[in-house]
């Protein structure tokens, strides 16, 4: 007999079915009080669905939830919060035109006395207090839309903590932030744990799991696989539990013959954002760009792709100077950009098929019409190649799991057959199996003679995949390292701006 008090949460026999998808099949999940419990599994395994049930967003088809030993029914996130459960969602949902403080206190704004007028001052002070206690450096009065994605994520984290919940669910909180913020978050988690708060932590980064979790539960295809104590399990065993097979090689890097320069950037400058960016990329080369969040990496590639403008500098493609004023020009020059923020790239209400073909429609045109047979053929090939988990081509992309959405985005760009492929955090939120798959694909593209620029905040990925690494700090390139000379330490030094 386990004493009742050991578990804060017991979910038993939870099943949930969506039209055409069995997301969860009789899953058990128990969390001990005051522990950090990792929940892992491949993309589409059902992690977010299980957590949304726990947060009252979905009602399970069957199964019970016991919280602190008592059975509870959750009908809405409001119910969950009242019971002491709060959640950081995988998909950020900030209200862009409101301030940080307004976002945090949404739905529970402090009022002036009894009149329904919001006490702005108190709200701002409370937010400032909250941020100070968490050592997060964000102005409560800043507009949400002006924050970087990393800072938005920090606001979400602060918001979830501000409910003083006993159980906090974190669904991939680190997928949008860099090493610095991750270690900050871990410090926050440790403090919470000391106060007796329990945490459910979802991540595809196994390093993090081993660093922070006490126990880990694995789901696969909606089934419960097992729960293990973190001290008693190895990385390999965990991966095997997740994917049901062994994964031999994490970074399937193969040296490709490096050819002539395809893309050259000279003195690219956008005042206040980045300065004097100079680099070349050659055929067959993978150029990694490392740096902390806010170093200006995304802004540089967005300028190259014509998504935003720059003040000075030139771009050369195959030795010819080009003017790229919009993504249309970029695509004409055979550049593809897979953006870092999944949501800004996807057509959420449209089907998987339409999402995949949207950047390459011209290649399926027959007379005035789109050749449906050809489209299906191309899409099915991509779905197979990238192992996209979807009940069919016509599934609405909104209903895919986060990682599979990312793969849909990659598929879209592969179909434009780019010569220069820019990937901004290409494996964010992608499971180990699929990650290896995408890495293999990047390697293959390089071998086919494409030039690849890969931004990543994950150092093992940068080190494992790149032939050459640029490091940026506060809008400038502070270091350039060849594969053989690069290691975590020298990259981090450059990234922090320590040049000596």
């Amino acid at each position: 007999m386990i004493p009742e008090s050991e578990y804060i949460l017991e979910m038993e026999g939870i099943s949930k079915e969506f039209p055409g998808v069995k997301a969860l099949n009789c899953v058990d999940f128990r969390v001990k009080k005051g522990t950090v419990h990792a929940l892992i599994g491949e993309n589409g395994a059902g992690k977010s669905t299980l957590m949304k049930i726990l947060n009252g967003i979905y009602t399970p088809d069957s199964g019970i939830i016991k919280f602190k030993g008592k059975e509870i029914k959750l009908r809405s996130p409001y119910d969950a919060i009242k019971n002491g459960i709060s959640m950081i969602h995988q998909e950020l949902s900030p209200i862009p035109n409101m301030t940080v403080a307004e976002n945090i206190f949404l739905g529970r704004e402090p009022l002036i006395g009894r009149v329904p007028i919001v006490n702005d001052k108190e709200m701002i002070n409370k937010t400032r207090e909250l941020m100070r206690s968490l050592e997060i450096n964000i102005d409560p009065c800043a507009l949400m839309r002006d924050l970087s994605i990393a800072n938005m994520q920090m606001v979400e984290i602060a918001k979830a903590i501000s409910y003083n919940s006993e159980l906090i669910i974190m669904d991939e909180p680190t997928s949008a932030i860099s090493e610095k913020e991750v270690s900050h978050l871990f410090k926050i988690i440790k403090n919470l744990k000391e106060k007796g708060v329990s945490i459910i932590y979802i991540s595809h980064r196994l390093d993090e799991i081993f660093k922070i979790a006490d126990e880990v539960t694995v789901l696969r295809d909606g089934e419960y696989i097992g729960t293990e104590s973190i001290e008693k399990i190895t990385r390999e065993k965990l991966i095997e539990m997740m994917v049901g097979r062994e994964i031999k090689q994490m970074f399937p890097k193969e040296e490709a013959p490096i050819g002539e320069v395809i893309l050259e950037v000279r003195n690219l400058t956008k005042r206040g954002v980045f300065y004097d960016i100079n680099f070349k990329v050659r055929r067959g080369e993978i150029l990694g760009i490392a740096g902390l969040m806010g170093a200006g990496r995304t802004e540089v590639v967005e300028s190259i792709f014509g998504l935003s403008s720059y003040d000075a500098g030139e771009i050369y493609i195959k030795g010819k100077k080009v003017k790229i004023k919009s993504p249309i020009d970029a695509i004409k020059n055979k550049i593809a950009l897979i953006t870092e923020d999944r949501k800004s790239g996807l057509f959420l209400p449209l089907s998987v098929r339409d999402n995949i073909i949207m950047a390459s429609i011209d290649s399926y045109i027959k007379g005035p019409f789109i050749d449906g047979v050809k489209v299906d053929e191309f899409c099915n090939k991509q779905i197979e190649q990238l192992k996209i988990k979807t009940p069919g081509l016509m599934q609405i992309v909104k209903y895919l799991s986060g990682g599979n959405q990312q793969k849909v985005l990659i598929a879209r760009w592969l179909l434009t057959y780019p010569e220069i492929l820019i990937l901004d955090e290409p494996t964010r939120g992608i499971d180990v199996g699929a990650k290896a798959e995408i890495h293999r694909l990047i390697t293959k593209m390089a071998k086919e003679g494409k030039a690849i620029i890969m931004i990543s905040s994950e150092l093992p990925e940068i080190l494992g995949m790149s032939d050459r690494i640029l490091v940026m700090h506060e809008g400038r390139i502070t270091g350039e390292l060849y594969r053989k000379d690069a290691n975590q330490e020298n990259i981090m030094r450059y990234a922090m701006g320590i040049t000596s």
């Binding site: 079915e17 249309i328 790239g345 996807l346 057509f347 209400p349 449209l350 949207m358 429609i361 019409f369």
Partner: protein, 326 residues
């Protein structure tokens, strides 16, 4: 063991329920429509008389044709409030060119389409290049076009048309009113455009996520202008049919048609948030409204009460539909 069996039983139950739910979701409005037809038929069997049925379809043809353009506009997250006034402007211009022995039939038709197309082009340009909210741009067009129609006709109806022009709205071909052929043709063309051409895909893309459309290399400005132009041309077709049907170019024609067209689209499942909508859905929406009008007439409900009932049923139907979607 016992427990397992019980569980799989409930799981089966869940499965069939899920399936039913997804079917209802897809065909919810079809059910609403048949429910309405059944009730009206029981109360007034005359409804099913073929002549009455053709009449219903003829009556909805004008709103439906306007609705096809409006559907595309709404899919891009836009709106078009100018349709009713553009109908009036097209009506008076066309009428003035359709007198007997004046021009060949093609001239009033082409000029009418041109007028509609230009209004749409202006709407689209203001929205896509001028970055005006669609609501404001088309509201401006709504007021301006009505004014122009009044100026052009001096506020009076323009009558006396050639035989062939009268045929467009009043004639029969093989026992079926001519406007129904136009309805079928415009529906088919619009549906094919939306589902099977690049233009159609881009319409959904722009409404699904404009930023993503830009990143994907779609010329959002161009396609937005095209959508509003297409809507203007559809409105012009409706305007020409109406003019012929009324035997008059009316500067006061088409008041409120824009809202009926929007209602048809939304009842038919087009989402005001963009990215979702179909032509068959819009026809269904128009059919629901047309059947309602006809049924209330047959049942001799007073014109005042008809309005109230219509309002309730439109909101109720969409509410039911939404409820099911959650």
């Amino acid at each position: 063991m016992m427990e397992k069996d019980v569980l799989s039983e409930t799981q089966k139950g869940v499965k069939s329920r899920v399936k039913l739910a997804s079917n209802i979701q897809r065909y919810g409005m079809v059910l609403v429509f048949f429910l309405m037809v059944t009730i009206i038929t029981i109360l007034s069997p005359r409804f099913l008389d073929p002549r009455n049925l053709l009449n219903v379809v003829r009556q909805i043809s004008i709103i439906s044709i306007v609705g096809f353009g409006v559907t595309m506009v709404i899919i891009t997250t836009g709106i078009d409030l100018s349709s009713g006034s553009v109908i009036a402007l097209v009506s008076v211009v066309t009428a003035s060119l359709a007198h007997p022995n004046q021009y060949p039939l093609i001239i009033p038709i082409l000029v009418g389409l041109l007028v509609g197309g230009i209004t749409g082009l202006i709407n689209g340009t203001l929205i896509a290049i001028g970055k005006l909210p669609a609501f404001i741009a088309t509201l401006g067009m709504m007021i301006t076009a009505r004014g122009l129609a009044l100026i052009y006709s001096d506020g009076r109806p323009i009558t006396n048309f050639s035989e062939s022009f009268n045929f467009l709205g009043q004639g029969y071909l093989f026992g079926v009113p001519f406007p129904i052929y136009v309805l079928a043709l415009t529906a088919l063309i619009s549906h094919i455009i939306l589902k099977h051409t690049k233009f159609g895909k881009y319409v959904y893309a722009i409404g699904g996520n404009e930023q993503a459309a830009i990143i994907s290399g779609i010329d959002v400005v161009k396609y937005k202008i095209l959508v509003y132009t297409y809507a203007g041309i559809m409105t012009a077709i409706a305007g020409i049919l109406l003019t012929s049907r009324l035997s008059a170019g009316q500067p006061t024609a088409g008041v409120g048609y824009e809202l009926d067209a929007i209602a048809a689209a939304v009842i038919g499942g087009t989402s005001l948030n963009g990215g979702i909508g179909t032509i068959p859905g819009t026809i269904l929406g128009a059919l629901i409204m047309g059947t309602l009008n006809n049924g209330l007439d047959l049942l001799h409900v007073s014109a005042y009460w008809q309005q109230v009932v219509k309002g309730f049923i439109i909101v109720g139907a969409v509410l039911m539909d939404k409820q099911r979607r959650i």
